[in-house]
C-alpha cells in the first residue's frame, strides 16, 4: 500500500479523532468555569443532584455591597497587579538591556532565576524578617515591593530575548542619525519592543493576580487581595461565596487574554 493510499484511508479517521480530542480538551477547560458560574447562582444544590433546585442572583449583587468586601478586594488586586506589572516590566526592560551586553550574564541570570527556584513562599519567608525590621510587613507597599521582586526576575528573563545585535544596530544607527540617548529609548527601543513588552505586562500581571503565599505572609492578613478572599471563604466552608470570589478572580485575566489574543499576538 502506497503512502498516498494509507493517508487516504486513514485521513477521515484521523480527522474524526482530532475533532474528538479537541472536544474533550474544550469540555475539560470549560466545565470547571461553567460549574463555577453555576455555583455562584445556585440555590439548594445538594448531592446527588446534577443541577441546583433553584437560582438566586443576590450573591452577585452583594459583590457591590461593602459587607462582603469582594469589590474592595477586586479593586485592590487590580491596583496591585497593575502596579506590579508596570513596575516589573519597566525595570525588567532596562535591566535586561544592561544584562544582555554584560560579560557576566550567567551570574546575573542565576540571580534573576533565584526567586522562582526557591518558590514565592520561601522568598516571602526570607523577606519577612527584613520587611518587619523596616516596618513594611502588613502594608500595601510591602506587598507591592515583594511581588515586584518576584515578577522583576521573570520580566528580566523574558525581555532578555529583545536584545540582540540587530537591536543594538538600530540603537547605534539612531545615535549617528542624531538621536540622543533619551530619544533612542522613546522613539526607537520602546516602540520597537512594544509587542514583547505587552506580553511581559500581561504575564507579570498574572503573577501578581494569582499570588497567594507571598501576599499572605508579607501582608500578614491585612492586605486582603482576591486570592486571599477566595481562600477565606473556602476555609469558612462557604463554597457559594468562594465561587463568586473565584469568578471575580478569573474574569480580569480572561478579559486580558482576550485583549492579548486580539492585539498582542497579531503584532508579535
Amino acid at each position: 500500500m502506497s503512502t498516498a493510499q494509507r493517508i487516504a484511508l486513514h485521513g477521515p479517521w484521523r480527522r474524526q479523532l482530532v475533532k474528538l480530542g479537541g472536544c474533550i480538551v474544550a469540555v475539560s477547560a470549560l466545565l470547571p468555569l461553567i460549574y463555577l458560574a453555576l455555583l455562584t447562582v445556585a440555590d439548594r444544590w445538594q448531592a446527588p443532584r446534577l443541577l441546583p433546585e433553584g437560582l438566586r442572583l443576590d450573591r452577585l449583587s452583594n459583590v457591590l455591597s461593602s459587607s462582603t468586601g469582594l469589590l474592595e478586594s477586586l479593586l485592590l488586586s487590580l491596583f496591585i497587579g497593575g502596579l506590579v506589572a508596570a513596575g516589573s516590566t519597566a525595570l525588567g526592560f532596562v535591566t535586561s538591556r544592561q544584562l544582555a551586553y554584560t560579560r557576566r550574564l550567567r551570574l546575573w541570570l542565576l540571580l534573576a532565576y533565584l526567586p522562582f527556584a526557591i518558590s514565592p513562599v520561601v522568598l516571602a519567608t526570607c523577606l519577612l524578617f527584613v520587611f518587619i525590621k523596616v516596618h513594611l510587613s502588613g502594608t500595601l507597599l510591602g506587598v507591592i515591593l515583594a511581588q515586584i521582586m518576584l515578577a522583576y526576575g521573570f520580566a528580566t528573563i523574558l525581555l532578555l530575548g529583545l536584545w540582540n545585535p540587530h537591536k543594538q544596530g538600530l540603537e547605534q544607527v539612531a545615535r549617528t542619525l542624531g538621536a540622543n540617548p533619551r530619544q533612542v529609548w522613546m522613539q526607537v527601543l520602546i516602540p520597537a519592543s512594544l509587542p514583547l513588552l505587552r506580553v511581559c505586562f500581561f504575564q507579570t500581571f498574572l503573577i501578581s493576580w494569582a499570588q497567594y503565599g507571598l501576599t499572605a505572609l508579607i501582608g500578614s492578613g491585612k492586605v486582603r487581595t482576591l486570592p486571599l478572599r477566595v481562600f477565606d471563604y473556602a476555609m469558612e466552608a462557604d463554597p457559594a461565596y468562594a465561587a463568586v470570589a473565584g469568578l471575580l478572580l478569573i474574569v480580569p485575566p480572561l478579559a486580558l487574554l482576550w485583549i492579548e489574543r486580539r492585539i498582542v499576538f497579531k503584532v508579535v
Binding site: 544607527v173 539612531a174 545615535r175 540622543n180
Partner: protein, 266 residues
C-alpha cells in the same frame, strides 16, 4: 585639498588581540575612500570608532580639524550605515527616512517636503506608506540611504552596505550610490571585501589587513599591492577571454571605471 577627516595613530585591542594598530588616514571633502579588507581585518571597529560608537585605546579622530574625542555620536555629523539596512520596524518608509529630521525637531512642513523629495530622488515615492517588512532588499537599502542623506552628514560611513544583496541589485545600488553621493557632495568611507566594488565606488583607495591600514596615492598603486591579488583577478579574466570563443566576450563593454551619471535606480 584640505582634509575633512584625519585619523591619527588609532589603536584598539580586544583582550590580547590588536584589532587596529596605529591607523593613519586622511580624507578630503567630497571624496570617497574605498577600504578593502577581509573579514576580521578591523574594518568595522575602525568605522565604529570614527562614528563614536566604540572607543579607541590610543590615537585621535579629527573632523575639520576638531578632535572628536568627547563628542557623542549624535553630535558628530557622521552617519554609519550597516550591511543590513536596519530600518526601524515600527515606522513606515516615510517616517524612517524622516527620522533624522524628527529628532532634530524640524518643523512638520519642512519634514514633509524634504522627505518627499528624498523619496522621489531614490524612486521610493510609491512605497512611502509601506512598512519595512513590505519592501524588497534593494528598496530597504535605498530607504536606509535616504534616511542617512536627509540629515546632510559631513561624513558617511558605509560598512559593506551591499553585501547582503543579490548580484543584480548590488550592481544597481553601486550605480545609485555613486550618483547620489556625487550629487549630495558627501565624503564617504566605503568598506568592502570586494575588489571590484572597491574600485567602482572609490576615488581613493586603502587596504586594511590585520589592523594595519595602507593608503595608496592612486588606483594603479592600489592594484599593485600584492595582498589584494588584483593581478590574479585580471589574469583569470583575460585568460578566460583568450580561451573561449563565446561572442559575448567579444562585445565591447563600457569601461566600469568611467563613472557616468546615467545610472538607473533599481
Amino acid at each position: 585639498m584640505s582634509s575633512l577627516l584625519q585619523v591619527e595613530a588609532l589603536s584598539r585591542r580586544f583582550g590580547n588581540e590588536a584589532v587596529l594598530h596605529s591607523v593613519q588616514l586622511t580624507l578630503a571633502a567630497e571624496q570617497t575612500m574605498s577600504i578593502l579588507g577581509r573579514s576580521g581585518s578591523g574594518k568595522t571597529t575602525l568605522l565604529k570608532i570614527i562614528a563614536g560608537l566604540e572607543s579607541s585605546d590610543t590615537g585621535s579622530v579629527l573632523l575639520n580639524g576638531n578632535n572628536l574625542a568627547n563628542v557623542p555620536p549624535e553630535q558628530r555629523g557622521i552617519v554609519y550605515l550597516y550591511q543590513e539596512p536596519l530600518l526601524f520596524p515600527h515606522l513606515s518608509t516615510f517616517e524612517n527616512v524622516a527620522f533624522g529630521l524628527r529628532v532634530r525637531h524640524t518643523n512638520n512642513a519642512e519634514v514633509q517636503a524634504r522627505t518627499r523629495e528624498m523619496l522621489g530622488e531614490l524612486g521610493l515615492n510609491e512605497h512611502a506608506r509601506k512598512m519595512p517588512h513590505e519592501l524588497s532588499g534593494g528598496q530597504r537599502q535605498r530607504a536606509a540611504f535616504g534616511r542617512a542623506l536627509i540629515v546632510q552628514p559631513r561624513l558617511l560611513l558605509l560598512d559593506e552596505p551591499f553585501g547582503a544583496l543579490d548580484g543584480e541589485t548590488r550592481t544597481a545600488m553601486q550605480a545609485l550610490y555613486r550618483r547620489v553621493v556625487r550629487e549630495h557632495r558627501i565624503a564617504t568611507l566605503f568598506v568592502t571585501h570586494d575588489l571590484k566594488e572597491a574600485i567602482l565606488v572609490g576615488d581613493r583607495y586603502a587596504y586594511l589587513s590585520k589592523g594595519q591600514l595602507t593608503q595608496y596615492p592612486n588606483l594603479a598603486a592600489f592594484l599593485t599591492e600584492p595582498d589584494i591579488r588584483a593581478a590574479d583577478e585580471i589574469h583569470f579574466w583575460t585568460s578566460l577571454a583568450a580561451q573561449t570563443s563565446h561572442p559575448s566576450l567579444a562585445i565591447p563593454r563600457p569601461d566600469p571605471l568611467v563613472k557616468t551619471p546615467q545610472e538607473q535606480v533599481p
